[in-house]
């Protein structure tokens, strides 16, 4: 594969009820990404946006974001899914030989709509939807299946929440930095057992953009390039009832493909830092397993060991992760942006010292129907 680099990134702060409208939010991220790369919009050959019509409250929402995302006057396409998938399209377009640079952007104003209703409407309208399924109840079923099969405890899930909200205190972009204990999580209101308030991610508005470039074009950018070493995407069945809820085969498939492309044979030893899509605390434990950071069923023991804390051998979500800022389809792209900051050594107080190989992970759909795994290096 020809080498493609991330040469610029931009993020807004993630928070609820941002007063900027969707386009102002998107523009903040794309402008920051261009400034970060030290290039102008005229240097951008094509654009991939990420929109969701229900969250934006309009049909073909990608059209409305044309100016703010930099699509005006150039080829643009759109993904209705997670930002990691938009970045994957951006990578393919950059590799096509037609484009030397690609702007990838995502925005989401979750707080403007009715997020629980919108997630309910992701379910089959003549079946599951009518039974009132939403993100919290479906994830509670998944958490139950996972915890039951492998003997994972609620305290082990709570430890993920304590770690990530604690890490968020070092991230100026995070929405919910918290200094909490396992007891605080255990005593927070039960929403759909075993999931409690502090096991869930917040409703965050925000935007993120990254700029991809071929090796030749990357030389013209101001920043030290961060190289894309391996990427893969894999989908599960639509219906939850048809999936193994306790184990994500598509995540393992995507991770293995991305590792093969990147030449990684021992992920837990060769990866220095990971940013994963922890929409609920139990998910981070499941993703440890699918990503091969530990054996199947060992996610609880891995968090107990401290390996994934700051200062551990493989810190996971130094940024605070999705538990600390969940701007839905932006959240995966933010994982890539955070991985880039780590590899440049520019992650400030959340920096993992000497990080050379980073993993970023995004999910799409109910209970992570799809997984996208990225391996990057400096």
């Amino acid at each position: 594969m020809e080498r493609v680099a991330v040469v610029g990134i931009g993020q807004t702060k993630y928070e609820k009820g941002k007063t900027k409208n969707f386009a102002e939010l998107s523009y903040e991220a794309t402008r920051k990404a261009l400034d970060d790369a030290g290039i102008e919009l005229s240097d951008i050959d094509n654009v991939v946006t990420t929109t969701n019509d229900f969250f934006d409250g309009r049909t073909i929402a990608c059209m409305a974001v044309a100016e703010a995302a930099g699509s005006y006057g150039r080829d643009a396409t759109n993904v209705e899914g997670d930002g990691t998938l938009s970045a994957f399209y951006g990578l393919m377009r950059t590799l096509s030989g037609v484009y030397g640079t690609t702007m990838v952007s995502a925005h989401c104003k979750v707080s403007e709509g009715s997020p629980r209703k919108i997630v309910n409407q992701a379910f089959d309208p003549i079946y599951d939807r009518l039974l009132g399924m939403d993100a919290i109840s479906s994830s509670a079923l998944q958490a139950r299946a996972y915890m039951q099969r492998f003997g994972i405890t609620e305290e082990q899930c709570a430890r993920v929440s304590v770690k990530n909200h604690g890490n968020a205190r070092n991230n100026p972009y995070a929405h919910v930095p918290l200094d909490i204990t396992v007891d605080d999580v255990m005593r927070s209101p039960m929403l759909a057992e075993p999931i409690k308030r502090l096991d869930t991610s917040p409703i965050s508005d925000g935007a993120c953009a990254i700029i991809l470039a071929t090796e030749e074009r990357a030389r013209r950018a101001a920043r030290k390039p961060v190289w894309i070493r391996g990427v893969a995407h894999c989908a599960d069945a639509y219906r939850l009832g048809e999936r193994d809820l306790a184990w994500s085969q598509p995540l393992e498939t995507a991770a293995r493909k991305a590792y093969r492309m990147a030449g990684i044979s021992h992920p837990s030893r060769e990866i220095d830092v990971a940013e994963v899509y922890d929409a609920f605390s139990y998910m981070e434990l499941m993703w440890y397993e699918g990503l091969g950071f530990c054996d199947r069923g060992e996610g609880g023991r891995l968090i107990d060991s401290g390996v994934t804390q700051m200062g551990g051998k493989l810190p996971v979500n130094p940024s605070g992760g999705v538990l600390s800022a969940h701007s839905v389809q932006v959240a995966g792209l933010a994982r890539i942006a955070e991985a880039v900051l780590q590899l440049r050594g520019e992650a400030g107080k959340r920096q993992v010292p000497g990080a050379r190989v980073a993993l970023a992970h995004g999910t799409g759909g109910i209970c992570a129907q799809t997984h996208c795994v990225w391996v990057l290096s400096n």
Partner: protein
């Protein structure tokens, strides 16, 4: 320019989408229609078997995603199975059928029906989580008046 914009920010306005709604009429299709007729007319749950891999899907549909083959082999699964996963939902929610708040706690379950390879989502008539276990045997409770929807099953009950 920046100062001009800042001067105008002493009032940031919002606008509501109002009461407009989009109404859809969904065809249930050639596989969910017989499934609903099974509930309505025979108080039974129909699945479908992939003749290629042998998996039995419920609710039924045309294509086996794993084999990408059309399925023809209907299976009467009856109304009994066991709990694969459950959650007692305590967070109040809006009933998508009516748009009105519905009472909680409500128990969501995945049922592995006897003879099926996939799980069916529905409700359980027990909201004390200490009285529910994964693997417990359950049976569908059918309504007296059935209209050919998923609500023809009132809920599941432990047996």
């Amino acid at each position: 320019m920046k100062d001009q914009a800042a001067n105008r920010q002493d009032e940031l306005l919002e606008i509501s989408s109002g009461k407009a709604e989009h109404v859809y009429y969904w065809h249930c299709g050639h596989y969910i229609s017989p499934f609903f007729m099974g509930l309505r007319d025979k108080k039974t749950i129909l699945g479908i078997r992939c003749s290629h891999c042998g998996r039995v899907y419920v609710p039924p549909r045309e294509v086996c995603g794993r084999c990408f083959k059309t399925m023809h082999d209907w299976v009467d699964l009856g109304s009994e199975g066991s709990i694969y996963a459950f959650t007692v939902v305590k967070l109040p929610y809006i009933d998508p059928n009516t748009g009105k708040p519905i009472k909680v706690p409500r128990t969501d379950i995945y049922v592995k029906l006897d003879g099926a390879d996939t799980c069916l989502m529905h409700w359980l008539d027990e909201s004390d989580e200490t009285k529910i276990t994964v693997g417990a045997r359950v049976r569908a409770v059918f309504k007296e008046q059935r209209r050919g929807t998923i609500h023809d099953i009132e809920c599941f009950t432990q047996i």
